[in-house]
């Protein structure tokens, strides 16, 4: 939360930070329970796997487990960057593991609950507070404070977006921005204007209705009413916020207004019928309406442009979400976090520092996890890009970065569930199963339970 006023969400974490015995207690409790269930025969087994002594020798070999989600190209790049590190630090070996996003958080939660969290793992801002707020992550403040993790060349807002309850709980892997991706080919053929940064929602909807009118069966834009980041930016472009600490910062009337905006948009013909909207609602690249050729605009992230382009023959362009770009901020695409139970916190910090600040590592990693935080690395990486759409992404980021507003705190615990709640409830409105008012009311009821 805001560093000056630690919000309640951060409090338990702080409380536990001062209790290093917490981890041991947890193991102890489990052992007792497991032991009780197993009675005598297991006792020998349990005794056999006692806590290892922490390594004290600074030159002793260290093994670091390292876990992320992503595709195969990310795997290649990350493993290559990690090899650069181990080549320079021969005493360190790294065991990298990766998998698809589906199941990533399930596995991470399970192994963390079992006391086996990886030394370094990847998070996004939906998972950040869930893990940091429950004190799973290593407090990196010490290392950002003494320069072992050098954040001096990172945009300040990006560093702050990794802080919770006054602690640096994670380091952004790079910067990413919500962006709309549009079908340049189709719009040019229809002789229509291309969307611009700074268009208001009303302007965009009117324009989109014009697209739909020109080409029957084709629609101007995706309906983003179920997309939390669209709602968040819409609120911020009016000077409001999504969260205030662990609570919602907007009102039922705001949300009703948001749902109504999109009911009206559909009535004007700007957005497709509910069933077509639903096809794209899970956010996966190949199902986006721009890719499947059903609408001219999709609501995405800026780093997805290149991947979307590979899935369609139409030429794609990109610009900011509607609304004042001041509503935008430098967002972390993902984060590196360390495990609080790691045996080698210094090495964990050193690896994270290497990944975000080393120019060679940065060149290997490229813009795969967003634009590099370190501005020197960012320059070196941008200069070396060859993929036209990745260049477009960088150009877009460079254009919008000066227009950013201040970064809010990362979303609180409960956010990942609340996102789904918004998705489900917004759909009750798109499918006309509920009025905007009733839907907003339901959202606030459920939010109270999820953010508690």
């Amino acid at each position: 939360m805001h560093p000056a006023t630690p919000a309640p969400a951060g409090t338990p974490a702080q409380h536990h930070g001062s209790l290093p015995a917490g981890g041991w207690n947890r193991r102890h409790l489990l052992r007792t329970l497991a032991g009780a269930a197993l009675a005598v025969p297991a006792a020998g087994l349990l005794a056999a796997c006692g806590d290892d002594e922490p390594a004290t020798d600074p030159n002793a070999p260290v093994n670091i487990s390292f876990f992320w989600w992503g595709g195969e190209s990310r795997a290649k790049l990350t493993e290559q960057a990690l090899k650069l590190y181990t080549a320079k630090n021969p005493r360190v070996t790294i065991t990298p593991t990766w998998q698809a996003f589906t199941g990533y958080y399930d596995k991470l939660a399970t192994i963390a609950a079992g006391g086996n969290a990886p030394d370094i793992f990847q998070l996004d801002d939906n998972g950040l507070a869930e893990y940091a707020g429950r004190n799973v992550t290593l407090d990196l403040s010490k290392y950002t404070g003494n320069g072992k993790i050098d954040v001096s060349k990172h945009p300040e807002s990006l560093t702050k977006y990794g802080q919770l309850g006054g602690k640096q709980v994670a380091i952004a892997t790079g910067e990413n921005t919500p962006a709309i991706v549009y079908d340049k080919t189709a719009l040019t053929a229809l002789g229509l204007e291309l969307p611009q940064i700074g268009w208001t929602y009303e302007q965009t909807i009117t324009w989109a209705a014009g697209v739909s009118a020109k080409k029957p069966g084709y629609y101007g834009m995706m309906d983003p009413s179920s997309d939390y980041k669209a709602l968040w930016l819409w609120l911020r472009s009016q000077g409001k916020e999504f969260y205030d600490g662990p609570k919602l910062a907007f009102t039922e009337a705001d949300l009703t207004g948001w749902f109504k905006l999109w009911v009206d948009a559909r009535a004007k013909g700007a957005t497709p019928p509910a069933d077509i909207v639903h096809e794209a609602v899970d956010g996966s690249v190949t199902k986006q309406l721009v890719v499947t050729g059903k609408a001219a605009v999709s609501f995405m992230w800026s780093n997805q442009l290149s991947e979307m382009q590979k899935a369609t023959k139409a030429d794609l362009g990109m610009t900011a979400y509607p609304g004042d770009p001041k509503g935008q901020w430098a967002r972390a695409s993902t984060y590196w976090a360390g495990s609080r139970t790691t045996k080698s916190p210094d090495v964990v910090a050193d690896i994270i520092n290497f990944l975000v600040n080393d120019v060679e590592a940065g060149k290997v990693l490229g813009v795969d996890r967003g634009l590099p935080n370190n501005l020197d690395v960012r320059k070196a990486v941008s200069d070396g890009l060859t993929d036209q759409k990745m260049k477009d992404t960088v150009a877009f980021e460079n254009e919008i970065t000066p227009k950013f507003g201040p970064a809010p705190a990362p979303p609180p615990k409960g956010h990942s569930g609340l996102r789904n709640t918004l998705r489900d409830i917004a759909e009750t409105v798109t499918y006309a199963k509920q009025t905007p008012e009733a839907a907003a009311k339901q959202f606030f009821t459920e939010a109270a339970a999820k953010l508690a």
Partner: protein
Amino acid sequence: MTRARSLSRVAMLLLVLAVVLYPLVWVLGSALKSPTEITSNQGIWPQDVTWSNFTVGWSYIPGVSFSRFFWNSFLIAGASVLANCVSCLLTAYAFARLKFFGRKGWFALMIVTLLLPGHVLIIPQYVLFHEFGWVDTPLPLIVPKLLATEAFFVFLMVQFMRGIPRELDDAAKIDGSGPYRIFWHVIAPLARPALITTAIFSFIWTWNDFFAQLVYLPSVPSYTVPIALRLFVDSSGQTSLGPMLAMSVLSLLPVFLFFLAFQRFLVQGISTSGLKG
């Protein structure tokens, strides 16, 4: 008359088969589509046939080819088949044929273990296996099966054994056989269709299992086919549908062949000749 009946029977089979196989043919057809065609053409057959999805898919994951994933799946599925068949056969015999104190209670308890949805058990299970020092090894995937924890198969075999006429045991008893001899010489051989069914299901379910393998297998080289298949799909961008579908098709082959090879053992029914029906 019988010929006409037989023909109509075959015709009916073929019709049902066509409907049933349509989705699978779609998977095969789409595995042959190019990346852009896959999102634009929803039809069953590709405009231009692209075989490269198979070669690209096989070595798509950096550093580890699909031969490794297939091998891992084989090992785990093979071990599961053996473990389930042996342990569940023993347990089922006790429940189906032997009289002992507390049998009904234990049987009810076994059914109860079938009822709880697995997702709330994952974490306690993980905690337990972590205490055993078994995580990051395949032991949590195999040892429980050696202990007949898959109640489904126990129940399956119990139901089959109860269909075996009691006269067979009684005849053996008159010859002086005890419970161990009866198990070995009467029940185990006659439970063969149930054993084959268990083997088939164990193999296929383990082959297709995702969540347990995801949680317990520690690194990419130890991954099995279902986990590897999901490495193709990533919500943050890189999606490679063609190679993924191609590998999905290949992943069906071993289980299909396994089924084809073993289903013929299902046909051996009980010969009751010499018994009074």
